[in-house]
Amino acid sequence: MSIFFAVLRRDLMLALRSPAESLMTVGFFVIAATLVPFGVGPEPETLARIAAGLVWVMALLAALLSLDRLFQADYEDGSLDLLLLSPGQTEIMVLGKVAAHWLTTGLPLIISVPLLAVFLHLPLEALPALLAAMLLGTPVLSLLGAVGAALALGARRGGALTSLLVLPLFIPVLIFGVAAPEAAVADLAARPHLLILAGLFFGALVLSPWAAAAALRLAAE
């Protein structure tokens, strides 16, 4: 487990030294979401109807944008070799990197959701369910994203490739992530959707590090 915290601390320290990268992801998230009223019109009813879905779609895209910095920098400067050579399991190392990625992108996104909720007229009763869904769902994005980012290392057009690989895998998170706040608006229980999201989280927690570690070893060959 020590490798988990060592990698986590290292990546958090790196992120803190160049905070612009995290902030840019959040900036993209907010700006892209505020573009929507220009596209569909500013009527509060229209926006309220689609707000939860919009927040999620923008979160997916923002997460995607941040994925290339998960392994790319370490791959380019040779750190990846050393990470793979550090004593301890590579899968745990991957988990440490994913945790750092989530803390520096997923969490800031969630924190900025209330702002978007105001902009997009999200029904107030949907907000707690949306936040809970994002707390469970955004780690899945980081976990699945790690697989895509690791697979695309060293490829031509790596960034666009990562999107192509992981976006279809994000669909279940999107579906249940939106279903929870919508259920809350319809006065139904959001709990079942949140439980499914939790299931997706645990599934991804078990399988993604394995696949990402295999992909990293392949990239280092």
Binding site: S2, M13, R17, S18, D77, G78, L82, L85, S86, G88
Partner: protein, 221 residues
């Protein structure tokens, strides 16, 4: 002492031994039937023209590159039976320095020390003559200083096997002398070194391995 071993080493030998290694890069067979044995206190100097597979062999010895054929033994046991134990007994310095510009020299080392389990950053910095630069962010370091910082990682954790890819690259005469002394000390303490170098380091108890001899094309010619 220069006996590049065609003779298969006995399995009871201590240290690192390679038996009939082969390396494919892309679909090109770089070398094949490469064998050597490296006893404690010995150095293995890899030579050969560009593209003869020096870096690839070092990566294979580190467990980063796949063995396309043959076996790698540590004290007579194949290393792939316990890759984690192999990782714990080696230090690898590749072409790239794996230095993060946003961290100071000391922080760079601390990050690696916490990953690998080790310490003594200040001694390591002093050994490579970087004591005065400990708190300078690495982006202000010159290429040679970054190289020295990369090499300082060797001293964080006492491991028997050092794998060095062109360690003298970018080092001035003083730094080269310092490195030579450090290598000699490591050998005195019954450590092992495998390195690719273009600069003669005149190490005691070293054997030279000319990789061109194992190129399939040369053999055919």
């Amino acid at each position: 002492m220069s006996a590049p071993g065609f003779a298969p080493p006995t399995t009871s030998s201590t240290g690192l031994a390679a038996e009939a290694l082969a390396c494919l890069r892309g679909e090109r067979l770089v070398f094949e039937r490469l064998s050597f044995s490296l006893a404690p206190g010995e150095a293995l100097v890899l030579s050969g023209p560009n593209g003869s597979g020096k870096s690839s062999l070092l990566r294979q010895l580190a467990g980063l590159g796949p063995l396309h054929d043959g076996r790698l033994l540590w004290n007579g046991t194949p290393v792939d039976t316990d890759p984690e134990a192999h990782r714990a007994r080696l230090a690898y310095v590749g072409h790239q320095d794996a230095v993060k510009s946003v961290l100071t020299a000391r922080e760079n080392l601390t990050a690696w020390a916490s990953l690998g389990g080790g310490g003594g950053e200040d001694e390591a910095l002093a050994t490579m003559g970087l004591g005065a630069l400990a708190d300078v962010p690495a982006r202000f370091l010159s290429a040679g200083q970054r190289r020295r910082l990369g090499l300082a990682r060797l001293f964080l954790r006492p491991v028997p096997l050092w794998l060095l890819d062109e360690p003298t690259l970018g080092l001035d005469a003083a730094a080269q002398a310092g490195l030579k002394a450090a290598l000699a000390r490591h050998l005195e303490q019954r450590g092992m070194i495998a390195l690719a170098t273009h600069v003669p380091l005149s190490l005691a108890r070293s054997q030279e391995l000319d990789l061109a001899r194992f190129s399939p094309v040369r053999a055919a010619a």
